[in-house]
């Protein structure tokens, strides 16, 4: 490795400590980024990755420590300060205004071109130029609410490139992207580093980390526990460094015999948010003791299918039978009473209430019946015991059970919802992207629970874009394309290549 001079260093963070009530999110963390490199931050949910980056971006203030940019100490008190110093950040959750257009979102916060009359002409032009230069396909006049998640992520990147940042923070930018979109993103990111920019990358997907990083820093419990490079390590080693123990990266499948059908879907038709068909003439059967995987590029009707099954979206026509009961016009509550659990894809929005405490969110779906409540009164002892157990088993990192859920790290909110939905020993489980955003230790545990429940006779509908996960867990895999099933493969015959073709709409 070439010797580094101070001039190569774009960013140095030294001795950063940040405390929140009940947690030390960062403890004496040292971190730096050189020009032209990707420096990855790796760590379990709640390890302090986002906190460190929010300090850099002026969203949080460090209790101790120093930040230097190109060797000069700086204080960054707000995002404006960060932007002025050439720092950009792509947040773990989208930071876009859905009711504004792409061009408006990009122009937001920039000095106006004309004071009175808004003139976005030059902004649009520049977006088109940058689109071409970086292979980022975005339509400047589209409204954000019209865009799929992959496109939204491109708008986030466009915002950063437009501002010509010298240092870009990417906090889990790939968690909502498909493998092909990730490849495109990496090409764009490499172009950025070739231009001399420095990038901070955060992801829970180890193969991405291995593919993209120049250097890797591992955080655990707020402290730096390791520094390495892809050439000197392996996925297994990285997992070990993060979690502090051996992690099994691929799930073990237990013997299980499929029995009677728990979910039968026939000729199902469902509309999307914009009133166009999202699920068309859909047939599916899931039996007790089996996992049926639904693979597909996001936006091909998976979300609408899951919502329709959970009773959250009206069914236009067709039949859904759960446990022998027709459920197309049942409420979500009635459906839950049939022994159905639902892990929604958008857990922040549909699965948890931010202002509620961790315990309240954990009992959200069964607070109104025994054992949690009796004769209309909540049994607090029961709640405390049950919740402590769930928090421990699913490694939800929280200072107390009374902590507001919004204060947890992104991945820990995900785990909270998953813990609740998997706790009830459901007869039928609809799981959308169950390991999105959670760290590998937790993913391993979630996979184990799913496999245990399958062995115990639960029927599981697994909707996931993670092909390794779908192949590893499912007995049968149906690929969805434009609202229909493109093909169904048995576990033994499923390969990433075959699924990939079906996902692209190529029938066999």
């Amino acid at each position: 490795m070439a010797p580094t001079t101070a001039g190569d260093l774009l960013l140095e963070m030294e001795g950063i400590t940040k405390r929140f009530p009940g947690v030390v999110a960062n403890e004496a963390v040292d971190f730096d980024v050189r020009r032209g490199e990707v420096h990855t931050l790796l760590g379990e949910n709640g390890a302090g990755k986002s906190t460190l980056m929010k300090i850099l971006y002026g969203l949080y203030h460090a209790d101790e420590g120093e930040v230097r940019l190109s060797g000069k100490p700086v204080t960054i008190n707000s995002p404006s300060d960060a932007i002025d110093r050439g720092i950009g950040m792509i947040h773990q959750h989208f930071m876009l205004v859905p009711t504004l257009t792409v061009a408006e979102n990009v122009a937001l916060g920039l000095p106006p071109i004309r004071r009175i009359r808004q003139d976005l002409g030059p902004v649009r032009e520049r977006i088109s130029e940058l689109s071409d230069a970086y292979g980022l396909q975005v339509d400047p006049d589209a409204y954000i609410w019209q865009l799929a998640v992959g496109e939204r992520q491109r708008v986030e990147i466009m915002k950063a490139i437009y501002r010509d940042v010298s240092l870009l923070i990417l906090d889990e930018p790939t968690s909502v992207l498909t493998p092909a979109e990730v490849d495109d993103l990496f090409v764009t990111l490499r172009q950025m580093t070739d231009g001399g920019r420095g990038l901070v990358f955060i992801s829970h997907k180890l193969h991405e980390v291995m593919a993209l990083s120049d250097r890797i820093t591992v955080l655990r419990g707020g402290r730096v526990t390791g520094r390495t490079m892809p050439s000197e390590t392996s996925r297994e080693q990285l997992a070990h460094m993060m979690v502090g123990r051996e992690v099994q990266l691929a799930p073990t499948r237990l013997e299980s015999k499929a029995a009677e059908a728990r979910l039968k879907v026939k000729d199902l038709n469902v509309l999307g948010d914009r009133g166009t068909p999202a699920v068309t003439d859909f047939d599916l059967e899931v039996r007790s003791g089996e996992v049926v995987g639904i693979a597909g590029v996001s936006g091909n009707g998976q979300r609408e299918l899951a919502e329709a099954l959970a009773g959250l979206r009206p069914v236009v026509s067709g039949e859904v039978v759960m446990n022998g009961v027709e459920t197309t016009d049942r409420t979500p509550k009635e459906i839950r009473r049939l022994g159905v659990s639902y892990i929604p894809e958008e857990r922040m929005r549909d699965g948890a209430i931010g202002e509620f405490s961790v315990a309240e969110n954990l009992i959200l779906t069964d607070h109104d019946r025994p054992p949690i409540s009796r004769r209309g009164l909540l049994d607090f002892k029961q709640i405390e015991d049950g919740c402590s157990d769930l928090v421990r088993r699913f490694t939800v990192k929280t200072p107390t059970l009374d902590t507001p859920t919004a204060n947890l790290s992104g991945g820990n909110i995900q785990k909270l919802v998953i813990a609740r939905e998997l706790s009830g020993e459901p007869e039928l489980l609809i799981a959308s992207q169950p390991t999105r955003g959670v760290d590998i230790g937790a993913a391993e545990y979630i996979h184990t629970v799913l496999m245990d429940q399958r062995a115990g006779g639960t029927a599981i509908l697994l909707i996931s874009e993670d092909l390794d996960e779908v192949i590893g867990l499912s007995d049968r895999i149906a690929v969805m394309f434009e609202g229909r099933i493109m093909g169904t493969l048995d576990q033994e015959e499923a390969t990433v290549q075959r699924l990939g073709l079906l996902m692209a709409g190529v029938s066999e």
């Binding site: 929010k54 971006y57 969203l59 949080y60 203030h61 707000s78 995002p79 404006s80 932007i83 002025d84 950040m89 947040h91 989208f94 930071m95 876009l96 205004v97 859905p98 009711t99 504004l100 408006e104 979102n105 122009a107 937001l108 916060g109 920039l110 106006p112 004309r114 004071r115 009175i116 009359r117 808004q118 915002k159």
Partner: protein, 310 residues
Amino acid sequence: MSDFFTVSVLLATLAAGIRLATPFLLAALGETLGQRSGVLNLGVEGVMLLGAYGAYYATLRTESVLLGIVIGLAVGGAMGIVYGVVTLALKAEQGISGIGIFIFGLGLSDLLFQKQVGTPTPIDGLGDLAIPVLGDLPWVGEVLFHQNVLVYVAFLLVPAMWYLINRTPFGMNVRAVGETPEAADSLGVSVNRTRYITIFVGNALAGLAGASLALELGIFQQNLTNGHGFIAVALVYFGAWRPVGVMAGSMVFGLVSAMVLQWKTLGIVVGTTASIVGMFPAVLTILVLVLVSRRTGSPSALTRPFERGH
């Protein structure tokens, strides 16, 4: 009844409707701006009362209607600063703070009136201002162009407010801040600065709305506004947060009020019936609100204070 009589009654009713719509329109346009940035102000009624009293008292003392108008605006703006500090800096609950502003305005305007004026004393309020040429048009001229100056101001503010919200860089910040304040903040847009400005302007317009009422009637009395401010808030929902929609709502309200007044004057309705018919506009608002309340276009961050971590 001769044709001439019916037509002139009709024209007079329409003209009165537009005049009566004006205070609603001014206040509702101001409230629209505030709500688009994510701030609900239920205290419009109180601000209107203070604006009305300020305008009345200034005109009574100086005999200058113009000064009255300026005072109305200034009193409203001052209340805007108070409301901004309470809801933005101190992060008080917006619904409750608004009710507080209403009670404060109701009490203070009456107190000042009792102390400083005491007996109801009429003033020379706003006279009609005929617009040259347009005012001479048959029918249209009489309805639209023989009005007082604040009527013209209010209706010209409709396109102005639309332009401000939809076509200026500031308006884009307002929309962003009302929808996704975190996103605006992450790009360096100051959420609270934007909201201070919209609240200031919005409340100044509420003050002006009060002034228009007092100067139009030429008097002040306790609770002069009598619910105008609350209806203005409802009209923002009615108009789906769009200036043109708000204008349509204000016109419906003004016209219905004018009709009821006309029926009373002509003796078409009397006594108890008159009182019942007098409630008609209020009932109408509620009905329309129930019917149109899809809440589409409601700013997502409405009533949500913005806080960035620490």
